[in-house]
């Protein structure tokens, strides 16, 4: 079937596009490693003061840090994946050409972003994680099943991450400029994904709220699945629910947006 091959080719293109910039990838690996080290020390101090904060021991908190650094670029926590391109195409009107193509807009960008995510995971994510496991005590499972469970959680996290950013990108149909929404997504992404502090260590009602938002599917869920802190099926259900909600919303927004597209001549 042709469609499958088309999207596979788009995904491969997304992978290759990011694989081209080797120096940038190395630089990213270095930066994530440095930030990981800084975070590990602060977390160790925090967990020293308050053992079992959020149900983690020190080794689990350290594992959380390095998984976060590993997934930071993969899930474009701070933004900066396909959505900047899509926003620019909407702003300039090039989107009209995309809508003419015999391919689905949402699937096209999902495939492209999937290729990017896969490269970022392999090229940029794995090394800081391995570095962390070599130099700091981590709580890594030894059975293959836990790692397989992590892979499924990652796949769902990639879908959720795409779903969030697709909605943000389509908002440009109405906003005309993506600067404000990008900034908002950056703040929400860093804070609500648990990039700064594990979500289970957030206090009170704030903790309950952030753990229910879709961003919780990105780092918290994969971390808890890897370390056996939650039943994988519960985590998958949470992630899949948000993925379906977000992707459906994206589809509805897409059809609403395309109905109002007026291509400017000139």
């Amino acid at each position: 079937m042709g469609a499958g091959r088309l999207y596979a080719a788009v995904a491969a293109g997304g992978f290759r596009r990011y694989a081209t910039y080797r120096a940038a990838t190395l630089a990213g690996v270095f930066t994530n490693t440095v930030f990981g080290v800084v975070l590990v020390y602060t977390y160790l101090a925090l967990w020293d003061e308050r053992p079992h904060l959020g149900g983690y021991d020190q080794a689990q908190a350290v594992t959380y840090v390095w998984l976060g650094q590993c997934l930071y670029a993969t899930l474009a926590i701070q933004g900066g994946g396909f959505e900047k391109d899509l926003m620019e195409r909407i702003r300039t009107g090039d989107i009209a050409v995309d809508l003419y193509r015999p391919a689905d807009l949402q699937l096209w960008w999902l495939a492209s972003d999937f290729g990017r995510a896969l490269f970022q995971l392999l090229g940029r994510g794995v090394v800081p994680f391995v570095f962390g496991s070599l130099f700091f005590p981590m709580a890594l499972p030894s059975d293959v099943m836990s790692w397989a469970a992590l892979l499924v959680a990652l796949l769902l996290a990639i879908l959720v991450s795409f779903g969030i950013r697709y909605l943000a990108a389509l908002s440009v149909f109405w906003l005309m400029d993506g600067m404000g929404i990008n900034q908002a997504m950056m703040i929400l992404g860093i804070f609500c994904s648990g990039m700064v502090l594990p979500l289970n260590a957030f206090p009170g009602v704030l903790g309950d709220v952030v753990r229910a938002l879709p961003w919780a599917a990105q780092i918290q869920m994969p971390a808890d699945v890897l370390m056996g802190k939650t039943d994988p099926l519960d985590a998958y259900a949470f992630q899949a629910t948000w993925a379906v909600v977000l992707l459906t919303a994206g589809r509805l927004m897409q059809s609403a947006a395309t109905r109002r597209v007026v291509v400017q001549g000139g």
Binding site: A27, V38, L46, R50, G180, I187
Partner: protein, 273 residues
């Protein structure tokens, strides 16, 4: 006599280019106000993290919240100043790649001034404001027997800290001439540096501390002088008077960064595109 006019020429070029970018950002006033506010929020997240941590504990590495806020305020404000003045340096790599760096070289103004003022963004006042507010809070709440020396150290830390971060930006720019795509390495030192200095030195491992005290002198932005102000022992053995060494360290570091920049500029070969 030769150096002084060149200095002033650089400052004049910097002022003109920065002024141009300010006028350009003021063309959309509402958008400008929103981005300043957004900048305040983004940079404030770091402090929110510290507040979240202190909602669970009473001290971190033995330091209280006002003391950590003192470190945070100093680090964020000093970094904010250098970020405002030189923060757009990370576009240098992109300029080299697309060939527009060559344009800067043929203009009759110092390249460093041109690249420093490139895309000058007044919205970066957000970080300085936010850091300043936290510093104000800290100064009101820390328990210190103020002496003239300690009082003087506060502005000295801000100025020298900004100079040390500024030197990092310049050294990073020189590095980008060699490795154009690797602009992100700079972030590890600049953003990583300011994040690191927001936490008490006692939190970090000894080897790590030695690295950022003796090799990359980040500790002189706030850790060493602030430990003296707060009357806390610095985790490493340092000679007496080290708390007052920041100006010397900043000067030496700036000179080294200047040399690196010159060497980088000399080794530059255009992409030809």
């Amino acid at each position: 006599m030769e150096e002084l006019p060149r200095w002033r020429e650089g400052l004049r070029a910097y002022g003109m280019i920065a002024g141009m970018w300010i006028r350009s950002s003021m063309a959309y006033r509402a958008s400008f106000v929103i981005t300043v506010f957004g900048n305040l929020l983004v940079t404030g997240l770091d402090f929110v993290t510290i507040l979240l941590m202190f909602s669970q504990v009473h001290s971190l590495g033995g330091w209280s919240l006002p003391e950590v806020a003192f470190l945070y305020g100093l680090s964020a404000t000093a970094f904010g100043i250098s970020d405002l003045v030189l923060g757009s340096m990370d576009v240098l790599g992109a300029r080299i790649r697309d060939g527009s760096f060559d344009t800067l070289l043929v203009r009759p103004a110092p390249v460093l001034a041109q690249i420093g003022a490139d895309r000058f963004a007044l919205r970066r006042l957000g970080r300085i404001t936010q850091g300043g507010l936290v510093l104000g809070y800290a100064l009101l709440h820390i328990d210190v027997n103020w002496t003239v020396g300690k009082l003087l150290l506060v502005p000295v830390m801000l100025v020298c800290g900004a100079a040390i971060f500024g030197a990092l930006f310049v050294a990073g720019a020189a590095f980008q001439i060699l490795a154009q795509d690797a602009a992100e390495v700079q972030n590890a030192f600049t953003y990583g540096g300011t994040t690191l200095l927001q936490y008490p030195p006692a939190v970090f491992g000894k080897d790590f501390l030695r690295g950022v005290t003796f090799m990359l002198p980040l500790a002189f932005v706030n850790w060493v002088p602030a430990s003296y102000v707060l009357g806390r022992p610095y985790p490493l053995d340092l000679p007496a008077g080290a708390a007052f060494a920041s100006p010397l360290v900043a000067l030496a570091f700036c000179a080294l960064a200047g040399l690196a920049w010159r060497a980088g500029l000399k080794s530059y070969t255009s992409t030809g595109s």
